[in-house]
Amino acid sequence: MDFSILPQVLPGFLQGTLNTIIYCAVSFPLALLLGVILALMSGSRYTWLRGPARIYIEVIRATPFIAQIFLIYYGLSTILFNLSGYLGGLNLAVYVNGWTAGIAALAINYSAYEAEVFRAGFYSVERGQTEAAYSLGLDARQNFFRIVFPQAIPLMIPPFVNDLIYMLKDSAVVSVIAGFELTSALETARSRLGSDIVLLFLIVMILYLALSLPTSYFARWYERKLRAAL
């Protein structure tokens, strides 16, 4: 293997790694926020709240992420461009790029999965707790924020960390639209150098492992601690 190419490709790879982290760090909180709203909607007693949330979750989970990212990238720019006539020539489509479309796609895709985690977490808090809270005179809001939510959080952290690792890996798909992250850096280096590409793959895989392995060990450590505490 020819290690002399390292100085050429390493800056791009490190920049790509940083961008991958930024993609996840921005998208994941957004996905959590959307997810908790969806989870509360799908637990509602009204069909007009439950229905849209269920349809959203089912549709997102039954389509590939790469199809969604193309749809959002081209869909957003097309719709915003079509709307620019109504907005007095204000063309919002210029703001659709690898960053905005990539983050939107990651957040939208993962919100459906996080909603299911939230739902399972809320259900795992015993019904008796809610009944006790009501009998003590707490209302539905107090019951949710003071009784159910705080008890559900520790149970939800391991699946959240797992989903964060999945997001880290799925952010590679952002390279198919104009986003620049670690896999895009790999593709750029691969097309530029052409030869000895297995080494490039090795470096990129090590960088991905450097991000995902500590995270997954944290999840496992936390799960062990949690199981001991319960």
Binding site: R45, Y46, T47, W48, G51, P52, I55, E58, V59, R61, A62, T63, P64, F65, I66, A67, Q68, F70, L71, Y74, G75, S77, T78, F81, N82, T130, E131, Y134, S135, G137, L138, D139, A140, I165, L168, K169, D170, S171, A172, V173, S175, V176, T183, L186, E187, R190, I197, V198, L200, F201, V204, M205, Y208, L209, S212, L213, S216
Partner: protein
């Protein structure tokens, strides 16, 4: 006190005036479906032109999924045996396999197999197409093989997908086997069964039930992950055809968007029935014997 208790009754009956909004939701669903139908009707020329092509792509997607899943099951079973082995080297290799595969994106692995390993193996004279061609010639059936570049792309795509899913299935099988209480093994040992009989007659039949639901879920995600083959190219599955059609019509951005919608709808039509089936299996196998 009495009043508070009555106010926060646990039944929580829906309020009637808010329930009326349900009908708004039903109307919106009908309107959305009619809108989608009209959207497809608007592009009916392209639907009639491309639908047969995409249907062929769907067939290829299902073929890729099933063949990858069969291979992945073999990889996963070997991996699970490795992880549960008494010999530390086997355990170590299996652990490295699982950690490396699960810690890196499947897209990078597809690119690695499709470009890196393909060219590296080609450099030392390994040519899967020629091997398959000679084999099929022996069977007098070499005309059913696709062209060499398509065959090679599909070959390395299936290897990459199954190698990836094998790592996930390793963990599924391992947890399935480990979930069988050790008392069962002890009871079988005391009845005089040897370790192979215990595995085959006691542990695996019970572990099988537990592995069915996650297996079904991985099958659905595998259908979706075949779409990533379009990044490597060469295999004409749905997403590849959709991207090609969209790129060919890139001058009309509305039409380009329509193709992506079309592709997503096709994937939904494959994956959603599978998801319902997976949910049924989950509830079926959650019940006791």
């Amino acid at each position: 006190m009495q009043q508070t208790f009555v106010k926060s009754n646990i039944e929580r009956k829906p309020r009637s005036w808010l329930s009326l909004l349900d009908y708004v939701f039903y109307a919106a669903v009908v309107a959305a479906l009619v809108g989608l139908a009209f959207y497809f009707y608007h592009y009916r020329d392209f639907v009639s032109l491309y639908f047969p092509v995409f249907l062929g792509g769907a067939g290829l997607t299902i073929f890729l999924t099933i063949s990858s899943m069969i291979l992945a099951t073999i990889f996963g079973f070997i991996g699970a045996l490795g992880r549960l082995s008494r010999f530390t080297p086997f355990r170590f290799i299996a652990a490295i396999y699982v950690e490396v595969i699960r810690g890196t994106p499947i897209l990078v692995q597809l690119l690695l197999w499709g470009f890196g390993i393909r060219s590296a193996l080609g450099g030392i004279g390994f040519d899967p197409y020629t091997i398959a061609y000679n084999f099929m010639t022996l069977l007098q059936n070499n005309s059913i093989l696709p062209p060499p570049n398509v065959f090679d792309a599909a070959f390395y795509g299936i290897i990459a997908l199954s190698f990836n899913y094998g790592a996930y299935l390793t963990e599924v099988f391992r947890t399935g086997i480990e979930s069988i209480p050790i008392g069962q093994t002890e009871a079988a040992l005391s009845l005089g069964l040897n370790s192979r009989q215990i595995m085959r007659k006691i542990v695996l039949p019970q572990a099988f039930r537990i592995t069915i639901p996650p297996f079904a879920n991985y099958f659905i995600t595998l259908v979706q992950d075949t779409a990533l083959l379009s990044v490597v190219g060469g295999v004409l599955e749905i997403q590849q055809l959709v991207t090609a059609a969209a790129t060919a019509n890139a001058s009309d951005s509305n039409l380009q968007l329509f193709f992506y919608v079309f592709g997503a709808v096709m994937f939904f039509c494959i994956c959603y029935p599978l998801a319902i089936l997976a949910r049924y299996l989950e509830s079926r196998f959650a019940r006791a014997y």
